[in-house]
Amino acid sequence: MENPRVWRGRDQAGQKAGLASGYPELDRHLPGGGWPSASLTEILTTQYGIGELRLLMPALSVLSRETPPQQDFSEPGWIAWVAPPFQPYPPALQQRGIDLSRMLIVRPKNAGEILWSAEQALSSGTCAAVLLWPEMLDDQGSRRLQLAAEKGHSWAIAFRPLAARHEPSAAALRLELHSSAQGTRVHILKSRGGHPTVINKLL
């Protein structure tokens, strides 16, 4: 049982407290009662603008305003946006409680630079969360992001197309978002220390 390759499920991952997502129903299904901190979360969507940002906003506003207890810094962290598909609209972000003075928008020119920038931001230890829209992300890339997130105690969120659901990934949490006229359904594909589930009508 001491062999590190033996997966011991919930007791290993469950020790770390998650970051409350602001959606009690989602928190209930996530190990640690919230978003896994210091690791990679993947969100798969058919298209952008269906509520993927609304899902994150409560947690991001907490990160943006409060000093994370697990870190010894006296200032809250920055939030970095790497290669967003549209312009994140500052007035709307401020309405949702994001501190704009600690927001960094990075627009790299190619896939390699997106990954590099995100890795730099994650491992620098200054960003509480890094949101990235990679053009492509393979298993190796996701592992690099996961390691950088662990190193910098930062939360990495990668937004990817739905087609990526069959590709292997090192992410601690993978969610799939489906929107319909009734509301947005969240499907937990993979959750380290948790179970795959479907939550209907979350947003």
Partner: protein, 539 residues
């Protein structure tokens, strides 16, 4: 014409009251100048504020064209083109021994000494050598002045005590100039012009007292004054060959024949008129070249050269307590145009190590079209370094400063690789027009972003904004998005503002929902009722 207009009016007055015809022997009345000099001292811009003794140290470099451009130990002569013929301007000792003289045609010189190395005169090289020497001389005086193409002046009255007296200072400067590889003629006099003339005469003059100045100058031949050849010839024709002869001429006649300019020069040299000089300042920008003997394409080596340049850059800035936000490397090739590499930093920085780190990120991506023959480092505008104050730290926690510092480091790293325009911070603007309600700013310009701390009082805004509103087709008055008619669930919110600056809007904004449940922010122009636009997604 202009230079005359610039002269202080006092000078004209000084020249005007010359006594009429009787004036023969003593054109410089002794009683008047003392009173006048006292009043005119205040016109002197430099160097000391109090009208105490002033002493000028002149360094004349007669062999500067040769010494600035010399590239080998072999017999060398500098040539200059005059009327289409290359003539020898200056020859070194070995060439002179062989009979090469200045003014000779280059061919004649080569006939005398076939191994003679001929170098074209480079005025730029001379200027650079002179500036280098001026920079070095700044350690002896706060007032160094480049008076001519081959003359440097130092005001040393204020430096005498610090350097242990006149003789010590003179020895130090003479030794230093010699060690830097220049042949110099030095002299000291109370006025800059007198010091220059004495130095050019080749005498090791050292005059501290103004009373001794006139006798010393009187003996000087007119050639030391570097006056135009025509003027010197005319004077020689009158039997005037020394400064003393010149001073004996009647002022009025001298002015009438040769203009006031030369009379005033004599007055200045004797200290009867002020002679303000401009102090030379070492440039506040660093620029250094590293030239290689042969082309190099080894990246490791090039990086080492950049490192050398950055280290001397650091020394340059350290001496001035400055830093800079930008540096630019140019890699020169033999045929292709130079490759430029610009680096930026969020805070003024001088540490070679930090610049090297940024350089390392960019250098690995740099494409050099061919091998490199020289590298140049130019620094941007120098700024005073912002000193950091660290607070006392009893708790073992890193201070807030530390974290701020590292976000700038992160930004610098990102900027170094992907460019400053790709890394941005945002802030709010108090404005009702949605596309003006925010702005993005470069992190280099003002990295400490500010946010308006006003609570958002208007209705919900979308999280995603399109760069430009997109025209939507419409179906019986309703907007259509991706082939499906939108349902308006919220609105209208009328925004009608900005009429004062050409870019006014008059729109009704609605929240719309499509068949997938996607929330969109759409608007319709009031004046053109039929067109719908998509402006954002609620994300």
């Amino acid at each position: 014409m202009k230079s005359r207009a610039c002269k202080p009016p006092v000078l004209v007055r000084g020249a005007a009251p010359t006594p009429p015809a009787v004036q023969q022997d003593l054109p410089f009345p002794q009683a008047e100048p003392s009173a006048r000099a006292g009043e005119q001292r205040s016109y002197r811009r430099a160097p000391a504020a109090t009208p105490v003794e002033r002493l000028w140290f002149c360094i004349w470099l007669p062999h500067l064209p040769l010494e600035a451009n010399r590239s080998s130990e072999a017999a060398t002569a500098i040539v200059e083109e005059q009327h289409g013929i290359h003539r020898i301007l200056l020859a070194d000792a070995e060439a002179t021994a062989a009979g090469v003289m200045s003014g000779q045609a280059a061919n004649a010189a080569l006939a005398l000494l076939p191994t003679l190395l001929l170098e074209e005169r480079s005025l730029l090289g001379e200027q650079q050598a002179l500036e280098g020497l001026a920079t070095w001389l700044e350690r002896f005086s706060s007032f160094v002045c480049i008076a001519d193409r081959d003359v440097l002046l130092l005001e040393i009255a204020g430096s005498l005590r610090l350097f242990g007296g006149l003789q010590e200072l003179r020895k130090k400067i003479a030794r230093g100039v010699r060690e830097l590889g220049f042949t110099a003629s030095l002299s000291i006099a109370p006025t800059p012009l007198a010091a220059t003339w004495l130095a050019r005469s080749g005498r090791r003059a050292c005059i501290r007292d103004e009373a001794n100045l006139a006798p010393a100058l009187r003996r000087l031949p007119l050639a030391c004054l570097h006056w135009p050849a025509g003027l010197c010839e005319a004077l020689a024709g009158m039997g005037v060959t020394t400064v003393g002869d010149c001073l004996r001429l009647p002022r009025e006649g001298f002015t009438r024949r040769f203009g006031t300019e030369y009379l005033l020069a004599l007055d200045r040299a004797l200290g009867h008129l002020p002679d303000p000089r401009d102090s030379w300042r070492a440039p506040e920008r660093f620029c250094a070249d590293y030239e290689m003997t042969e082309e190099q394409s080894n990246r490791e080596l090039l990086l080492n050269i950049c490192r050398e340049l950055l280290l001397s850059h650091e020394q340059f800035l350290l001496a001035r307590q400055l830093g800079t936000q930008r540096v630019c490397f140019s890699f020169f090739h033999l045929k292709a145009p130079a490759t430029e590499l610009r680096l930026g930093c969020a805070r003024a920085e001088r540490s070679a190590e930090r610049w090297l780190e940024l350089l390392g990120i960019r250098f690995e991506q740099l494409i050099l079209p061919e091998a490199v023959i020289a590298v140049r480092l130019r620094s941007g505008i120098a700024q005073p370094l912002q000193a950091k104050t660290d607070s006392l730290n009893f708790h073992g926690k890193p201070a807030a400063q530390q974290r701020r510092f590292s976000i700038t480091q992160l930004a610098e790293r990102l900027i170094a690789r992907i460019g400053a325009q790709s890394v941005q911070a945002t802030s709010m603007v108090a404005e009702h027009r949605p596309h003006y309600a925010w702005r993005s700013q470069s992190l280099l310009a003002d990295w400490s972003g500010t946010s308006l701390d006003t609570p958002a009082q208007y209705v919900q805004r979308p999280l995603w904004m399109l760069p430009e509103p997109a025209l939507l087709p419409s179906d019986s008055g309703y907007p259509v998005h991706q082939g499906c008619r939108l349902r308006l669930i919220n609105g209208p919110e009328r925004l009608e503002t900005g009429w004062w600056d050409e870019d006014g809007i008059s729109r009704d904004y609605y929240t719309a929902i499509n068949a997938d449940g996607r929330h969109l922010w759409v608007f319709r122009n009031r004046n053109r009722a039929s067109s719908w636009y998509l402006h954002g997604y609620f994300g």
